[in-house]
Amino acid sequence: MGLAEPPVHELGPEQDVAAAAEPSSRSELHRVLGLTDHELDDIRTRLGRDPNALELAMFSVMWSEHCSYKSSRSLLRTLPTTGEGVVAGPGENAGVVRIDDDLAVAFKLESHNHPSAVEPYQGAATGVGGILRDIFTMGARPIAILDALKFGHPADVRTRHLVRGVGSYGNCVGVPTVGGELVFHPSYAANPLVNVMAVGLLDERDLTRAAAPGPGNLAVLFGSTTGRDGIGGASVLASAAFGIADADGAKRPTVQVGDPFAEKLLIEASLELIRERLVEGLQDLGAAGITCATAETADRAGTGIEVYLEAIPRREEGMAPFELMISESQERMLAIVRPERLDAVLAVCTRWGLPAAVIGRVTEDGDVTVVTRGDRPSGRPGGSPEGGTWRELARIPARALTSEAIVYEREARPPTHSRRAPAPGAPDLPHDGLPERGMDPGAVLVALLGDPNLSSRAWLTTQYDATVGADTVEANERAAAVIRIKGTRKALVMATDANARVGLLDPYLGALSAVAECARNVAVTGARPLGVTNCLNFGDPERPEESWRLQQAVRGLGDACRALGLPVTGGNVSLYNESLEGAIAPTTQVGIVGLLEDVERRVGPAFRAEGDLVALLGETVPGLAGSIYAEHAGTTPDDQTPDVDLAHEAALLAFLPEAAADGLLRSAQDVSGGGLAVALAECAMWGDLGADLHLSIGSAPAAELFGEGPGRVVVSVEPGRWHELHALARRHGLPVRRLGAVGGDRLRIQLTGEGATGAAEGRGAGVADEIDESLTVLRHSWQAGLPRALGEDG
């Protein structure tokens, strides 16, 4: 097939083509589409005339928060985005960092919160599909998915639907789901969060840009056909402007419907097109559909694209021009192809059973132009494809839709009260004194292990295929996943974390904590973190308090990444996560990929041998606010959120890979949710080995045992190598203290020091408070927690 005339689809009789080009100034259409009067004026200035209805629809989706980042763009510019090995950064579909002379890793986090709130199953599924497309569009084969799911309560029925949605898609496309988070917090009740991270591996020579270079090149749309699904706010156009007769109009789904089978074919076809060097540029179609894909690729190359409306393969007749241009039908790709390679491109698509069509071509004028072969005389002379009289329906400078879209500096103001009242029954001591209240720390530990936020994720992870690809070394239940790279000794280590509890109290600290924890989770395996992706989940930025929270989080993200020497290679912003009950807790979701030079030298969290010494790196930082313990027991109003010492975190990130490479670490586990006691319990349960430990308590046993202060890692080491480990830690300026030794089938933590004995005597106990629990009891609580909370333990 050569550059034939594109197939012509008839526009339905009920669609008045003329209406698309009708000036809109007389109506209030822009408001219905979500554009403000100010934005309409701005559009007029840029066009030098009134936009018509189609152009307004295109602006409305491209200037939406989701596509334009209009409220966050100026903040995001402050993030550090360059660094060693960064091949592609923000602005591309995904960040790409070099691994070695040949290989590079592409990765990105993305949200799909609002669709998932409306339709959990499809919302979650298409979220996975969208982020995978961002990865293979770069020329990378997706090798792992991690999902961060946030719900209000385990019993929410959406929990199950979302889990299945994520799982069904990932399982089908053959990309292993290897990790993530499942978090419950009341602020997510009406607005659950679905953040998905995808990681891909590529030969750097296959790196492909989402650009449309070379005027005269063809724009080929392949994959699924275009339908009316996923036409968001603009669907009001259907009734407001075009008077569509069909009665179903109002019920059109605004949530896209996913087809993982089509996605799998799309992956294979796209990677084949790239490998065979058949495309000049490749872009997936996500939000704002063809409008976004054409505007972005043209803008990146400094070109324009002319779209032939009738050439777009569609799944239903009678679609209006605006519907074709902004439909978010899933599993579609736009390829920019040299005319002489068109036949080869179409052959690949045909082989994979994917419809493909030339829907436009690259121009020199820098505009996205929509043309139609209407039945009226042509309004524009020449330049149209052979044999047609084509009429222009829309013409917008590509950059006005993308890189130069409207930007806001939102007013930001700290909230008048940033702390919530203490929980009922909270002690009025300045710091929580757990034993003073007669609580048994062993019972607290057992209870925390059964908390839905800390207990085993097996209910979730057994629903996801974690081993397809035959590269999975560690997955799930672990804070970071390890994926080996075939044909090398290397492995990629990946994790995603957020800290909403701390974020709620202090969004700046929440962001710092998330970066620090995520980097630590990667580093405890022995890997060196390569780069950061993120997803900023916040409320309505038009409210100064929410705008302030976003500002603080971005500042925290930037400060943390600069201090740890980590480039931010990409990310995503999701705003307006609100319900009548208020905004969600500020959630800075962070994703980090690290490189392990020798997979055989990886370090796991589980204790491995009787007699190994157990030690704690890092000091306990006071403060229980924001911890899960505090959620159970309450805190005092003046209790602090633990500070993050970034210099100390940087030292840990340097120490851990070195210690692992030297073979000094038998195990290493980050201290985070549930604190030191929970971390120790995990090391013991997972290794099926107990431990006998002594913990010196300064003043607050609860903070020491259950505080979630950052910067701490539990390690075990062969006794004969203790001095080496100690010396290395000292060299990195890291405090390290011995806690005891691995052995037996119980976890025993004796509390010593002033804080502990004083407490015990104070309430007349004959012995010092201690934790002494069998692994069986710990494991039972940990395993039963989530199914019980979900009501699935029947």
């Binding site: 799982g167 089908c172 089978f261 799998k264 974690a466 035959a470």
Partner: protein, 230 residues
């Protein structure tokens, strides 16, 4: 030994099987579902995945692929065929092995590591598995509950058609009749199993037990070849 791994649209363990076959020492290549030739493959592997999106029913459409005619002929002539997971479902739909795979009794997709007992060691698929050894392999499926009417199960058992059983203390993961994880056809040259031996082909992945199946096939082919030569 030459192995051909079939790629259906929606196959997603094809490259994993290719990797494991080569690791075991086989000469292996991918076969396209629309190509009716087997290109000299002595062993045909139907890999896991969601062939044709599992539309209608897992394996229901894949069995009509052009390549399936060639595989049926190959099996008819005594050639070796191994169906893994979705490949097992395709073999069952095509009637090349007995039984049907129903939805897991949990009604959920199940991914986990399981232990398998090996019921026979005198087959080309299991000859290299040490007697008494159990195999540690992952499962990943939503429809792996093996079904056959009771009298036929007795007959299957009597003729030695049950090759692998789930042997975990907590029982089988999908509700399969008699804990059946893998079966043989009457002639003993076609095997289908739900667990994934190709994903357990290296110690770094958590187990290399799966490689024993590939080694068995390689060795039996070598023995067969030398037998023919003699």
């Amino acid at each position: 030994m030459k192995a051909g791994i079939v790629v259906f649209p929606g196959s997603n363990c094809d490259r994993d099987a290719l990797h494991a076959a080569r690791l075991a020492g086989m000469e292996a290549e991918l076969l396209w579902h629309e190509d009716p030739g087997l290109h000299g493959s002595e062993l045909v592997i139907l890999p896991g995945g969601f062939a044709y999106g599992d539309y209608l029913r897992a394996g229901a459409l894949a069995r009509f692929s052009p390549v399936m005619r060639a595989i049926e002929d190959h099996a008819e002539r005594g050639g070796l065929v191994l169906g893994i997971c979705n490949g097992f479902q395709v073999l069952a739909e095509a009637g090349l092995v007995p039984g049907a795979l129903l939805r897991n009794t949990s009604l959920r997709f199940e991914h986990r590591w399981v232990r398998l007992s090996v019921e026979r060691h005198d087959t080309p698929f299991t000859a290299a598995v040490p007697a008494g050894a159990t195999l540690r392999l992952p499962i990943a499926h939503g429809e792996g509950c093996y079904f056959l009417p009771e009298p036929e199960l007795d007959a299957l058992h009597a003729r030695g058609g049950i090759l692998f059983r789930y042997a975990d203390p907590e029982g089988n993961p999908n509700g399969s009749a008699r804990d059946i994880a893998g079966v043989l056809n009457q002639r003993g040259n076609v095997c289908g199993l739900m667990p994934h031996p190709e994903r357990a082909s290296e110690a770094v992945l958590g187990s290399d037990d799966g490689l024993l199946l590939f080694r068995s096939l390689l060795e039996s082919a070598a023995a067969h070849a030398s037998g023919v030569a003699a």
